[in-house]
């Protein structure tokens, strides 16, 4: 365990990929810390680096990617210093497990669901024979699959989408991980099933006391599950705070833009708030704040120097020059202020 008392501590992580002879910096110095039992949601658009960041926690970066600098402290070890598979094997799937977006691609279609859960139990918990069988059925029961004995003998194609995701979750938590990473766990599911799966993960988290990291672009899901939120843009964490900090008191213009572009905050008949342009290419060196070219509130310095993480409160930090005492006062967009006022009105 690290000196700060957190379960996972990422410091100044830089991850690079070589692609067709060019270097792409996918993570440009990310830091975050996660306490035992917490639920963190990492929010960002495609290409922001949220999946790459979490893949580095379980040694699943693609062949052409590597950690350039920085550290990932977990349970007294620096995962960034891991070199080969033999380092990862005792950890991946056992202490840190992952649930992916599409349950069909994480299940083996040729093996029964029971067999796939059992494999994990035998490998990581050392059970065998009847004991392993019982533990398998118990896991299926725990994830809410009715008639688990019969279901254990069925193949993934005999399961519905929601049930497959339940089976994937059963595999992931079968070896009692300390951290469960859920990469867009409900994106491929229907909205009514989504609610059930999120409820299931929460219930299991209480029962098994693991720490959860969600990767998602759905702010509704974030509002539902998260204690803490990290907002990523172009390979950096640009704002982090409690869920309330982010939804009711966001400080980074990118977070403002993300929230404002939600249809729920729009006014029917008028255009929805939209961020112009596209994220920067990560092949090139980025000067200043990566969001500056799309930021209507950008200051001159945003194009020249990268903003440091400013502390807003003990739980809340954001990397924007707007928080510098010398910066001009910029109010958040109307929709964000309205949400904050409604929140404050309800809590007083």
């Amino acid at each position: 365990m690290s000196d700060t008392g957190s379960l996972l501590e990422v410091r100044d992580l830089v991850i690079r990929f070589s692609l067709r002879g060019r270097m792409l910096t996918a993570i440009r110095g990310a830091s975050l810390s996660l306490a035992e039992g917490e639920t963190l949601a990492i929010v960002g658009e495609s290409g922001s680096g949220k999946s790459v960041l979490t893949k580095s926690f379980i040694g699943m970066l693609d062949q052409n990617g590597r950690i350039d600098s920085g550290s990932i402290l977990f349970d007294g070890q620096d995962l960034a210093a891991f070199r080969g598979e033999e380092d990862w094997l005792p950890l991946r799937g056992k202490k840190i497990a992952m649930v992916f977006q599409d349950p069909m691609t994480s299940l083996n279609p040729l093996l029964t669901v029971g067999r796939q859960i059992r494999e994990v139990i035998e490998l990581h918990r050392g059970l065998s024979g009847r004991k392993a069988e019982l533990a398998t059925v118990e896991m299926l029961d725990k994830v809410g699959i009715v008639d688990p004995e019969r279901r254990a003998d069925q193949y993934p194609h005999e399961f519905s989408g929601g049930m497959r995701q339940r089976a994937v979750i059963a595999i992931a938590i079968a070896c009692r991980p300390r951290i469960l990473i859920c990469d867009e766990p409900t994106t491929a599911l229907d909205v009514t099933i989504q609610a059930q799966i999120l409820g299931l993960i929460k219930a299991l988290q209480r029962d098994f006391a693991f720490t959860t990291i969600y990767i998602t672009h759905d702010l509704g899901v974030v509002a539902n599950v998260a204690d803490k939120v990290a907002v990523m843009y172009a390979g950096k964490i640009v704002e982090t705070g409690t869920t309330e900090d982010i939804f009711y008191d966001a400080r980074h213009p990118y977070t403002w833009a993300l929230l404002s572009s939600l249809p729920q905050l729009g006014v029917k008949g008028s255009p929805l708030y939209s961020i112009s342009g596209t994220p920067p290419s990560l092949f090139k060196e980025i000067k200043g704040d990566a969001f500056a070219p799309r930021n209507p509130h950008a200051l001159k310095i945003d194009f020249e120097r990268e903003p440091p993480m400013f502390t807003v409160s003990p739980t809340h930090r954001a990397a924007t020059w707007l928080l510098d005492p010398r910066a001009p006062r910029v109010d958040p967009p109307e929709a964000i202020r309205a949400m904050r006022e409604k929140y404050l009105g309800a809590t007083i």
Binding site: D190, A195, V221, P263, P271, Y273
Partner: protein
């Protein structure tokens, strides 16, 4: 805009049924007895979960799926089943579709120039090369792309740009009705807003009518004028959008609305999702019928249910 029921609709679906024959001879009734009408200039939402039949309806309108019963009527003329060649050409031109996944709906081996104007090659055979090229450049500008993109391949574009190409391909045909099948669900949040705004702007400019097929209710609420909710092949409720969200009458609609995550932690944590269980409804007497319970607000219900609804709201 809200469509005046007394006007002739642009598109009408009458008691539509679409069946699929499965392996082994069984028949799947993908759509059963669906009826609705879409007014000119309206944005009509069709909402349901996967497998509900919403896309099948869209495809039946475009004559991709064969109709098993009922009919599709466009501008007063029946366009389902056997129709003559000139009407078929008209339908091909006037009704266009925008697809969900811009990564798989564009021909990877063709340049944008060809992708966008493929329909013109077929439908306007006498069109000169210079004129065709001019039309492509014009439509690219209209969807917010640069004319020089015409010479590039789809893989050179981001998801949002590719969806713009998909929109350009539909627009160049000068359609009257555009079937938008989940046009933004594969896009990132910030890009979604851009595409929604583009669709609205194009609608205003060109007087387009949209059938917007989606499962994301927050988007549907934002852009549609009226909504129909479909469950297991049957339309269970239809109303003006705000009316439907304010006063959902069918149990399935209530469950669906209650399941939407709200991007506001305090409200989201207080949200109680309802579960719809169709087996709790007893239709041993008469089958439920399509009933107009409030002006313009229809629900699939039997007599007792209609009475219960009226009691609750009066």
């Amino acid at each position: 805009m809200n469509w005046d029921e007394s006007l002739e609709p642009l598109l009408e679906i009458r008691d539509l049924g679409v069946d699929f024959r499965l392996k082994g001879g069984a028949v799947l009734h993908a759509v059963r007895g669906a009826s609705f009408a879409i007014g000119k200039g309206e944005t009509f939402g069709l909402v349901g979960e996967s497998g509900s039949g919403k896309t099948t309806i869209g495809r039946a309108i475009l004559r991709i799926n064969e109709v098993s019963s009922g009919s599709v009527v466009f501008k007063g003329r029946k366009i389902s089943g056997n129709i003559d060649a000139s009407l078929d050409r008209e339908v091909v031109q006037k009704i266009q579709m925008i697809f969900q996944d811009p990564m798989s709906s564009l021909n990877e081996r063709a340049k944008v120039d060809y992708i966008v104007s493929e329909g013109l090659y077929n439908l306007r055979k006498g069109l000169g090369e210079a004129e065709r090229s001019r039309l492509v450049q014009k439509v690219l500008l209209e969807v917010g792309l640069l004319p020089e993109f015409a010479s590039r391949f789809p893989h050179e574009f981001s998801g949002g740009q590719r969806q713009r190409i998909g929109i350009a391909r539909a627009l160049i045909m000068e359609p009257e009705l555009v079937v938008c099948d989940e046009p933004i669900s594969a896009l990132d949040v910030s890009i979604r807003a851009q595409v929604i705004n583009l669709l609205s702007a194009l609608q205003k400019e060109k007087g387009l009518t949209y059938l917007f097929i989606a499962h994301d209710l927050s988007v549907v609420r934002f852009i549609t004028d009226r909504v129909a909710v479909i469950n297991r092949g049957q339309i269970v409720e239809l109303a003006e959008t705000e009316e439907l969200f304010a006063r959902p009458l069918h149990g399935y609609t209530q469950a669906l609305l209650s399941a939407i995550p709200i991007p506001d932690p305090r409200r989201e944590r207080a949200r109680v999702p309802l579960v719809y269980d169709s087996s709790t409804r007893d239709y041993s007497g008469a089958a439920p019928e399509w009933r107009e319970v409030f002006p313009g607000h229809f629900v699939l219900a039997d007599e007792a249910e209609e009475e219960a609804i009226r009691k609750k709201y009066i």
